[in-house]
């Protein structure tokens, strides 16, 4: 009989989301690295070049989705790692909501930055 060695609750929504975001990030992170290090070089970066990309709706929406999925995948990964190490009770609740707050700040700041490039007056 097959055994499961994963610490995640099978069938859990977070378990599935961690994997769905992983599959998405595999493709988009590879694209991000390729575009910004191999097509363009990091030392050639300028505000106007970044703005030129971000003014395109498809690129802007892809990057916002990239930010949302990377934040979820990373922060949920940290939370799972801490739970694996035995985090329980009040500490677990405090850390969980601290991570949620950090995620919200990160996503808001990332969107403000994307808006600054895209010329969207919401930042």
């Amino acid at each position: 009989m097959a055994q499961r060695y994963s610490s995640f609750d099978k069938g859990g929504r977070m378990w599935l989301l961690q994997r769905v975001t992983a599959a998405f990030l595999l493709v988009v992170l590879a694209f991000h690295f390729f575009l910004l290090h191999f097509v363009h070089h990091a030392d050639e970066v300028s505000f106007l070049m970044s703005a030129g990309r971000m003014e395109t709706l498809s690129y802007y929406s892809l990057m916002v989705l990239f930010l949302l999925t990377a934040t979820f995948h990373g922060v949920n990964g940290v939370y799972n790692a801490l739970v694996n190490q035995g985090l329980t009770g009040t500490k677990r609740t405090v850390i969980k909501w601290t991570l949620v707050a950090a995620s919200v700040v990160l996503v808001l700041q990332g969107i403000r930055t994307a808006n600054a490039w895209a010329g969207i007056p919401l930042y």
Binding site: Q3, D43, F47, A116
Partner: protein
């Protein structure tokens, strides 16, 4: 039926000689994950200089004298940053390859060759990283 499996404490590092491929894959995946989420917060903080830069005059932006362009150009001018970027690439590539391996394992694909696919992830990470060094270091000297 699923059942929990006692891996023992990872903190008990004296056990490292007993670790098999799966345990190393687990440790490397956690380590690279911590590095990547730490980097994401740093990355957004650095990119946020685009917010004040967006208020600069067009001539300043065209000359690349805005705070965002200057911040990135200054950072990229440091050899240490270029070396750290190669390290970041290695960390990201391993996390992606091992993550793809984990997704396949979750789908029940390649269960019999988990060790081999871990070694393949390591070798491919090394190859991609070495091949990328010239691109990442270009212009640093």
């Amino acid at each position: 039926m699923s059942q929990s499996y006692n891996r023992g404490l990872i903190e008990d590092f004296s056990r490292w000689r007993e670790f098999e491929a799966g345990m190393w894959a687990w440790i490397f995946h956690k380590f690279t994950g911590w590095v990547l989420i730490g980097y994401l917060f740093t990355h957004i903080a650095v990119l946020s200089t685009a917010i004040p830069a967006s208020g600069a005059e067009t001539a300043v932006l065209q000359a690349g004298n805005d705070v965002y362009t200057q911040t990135i150009v200054s950072l990229e001018g440091l050899l240490l940053v270029r070396i750290l970027e190669v390290g970041l690439l290695a960390v990201a590539v391993f996390h992606m390859l091992n993550g793809a391996r984990l997704l396949l394992v979750d789908l029940g694909v390649g269960l019999e060759s988990q060790d081999k696919s871990f070694y393949a992830s390591l070798i491919l990470t090394g190859a991609i990283t070495v091949a990328s060094v010239p691109t990442f270091i270009a212009g640093a000297f």
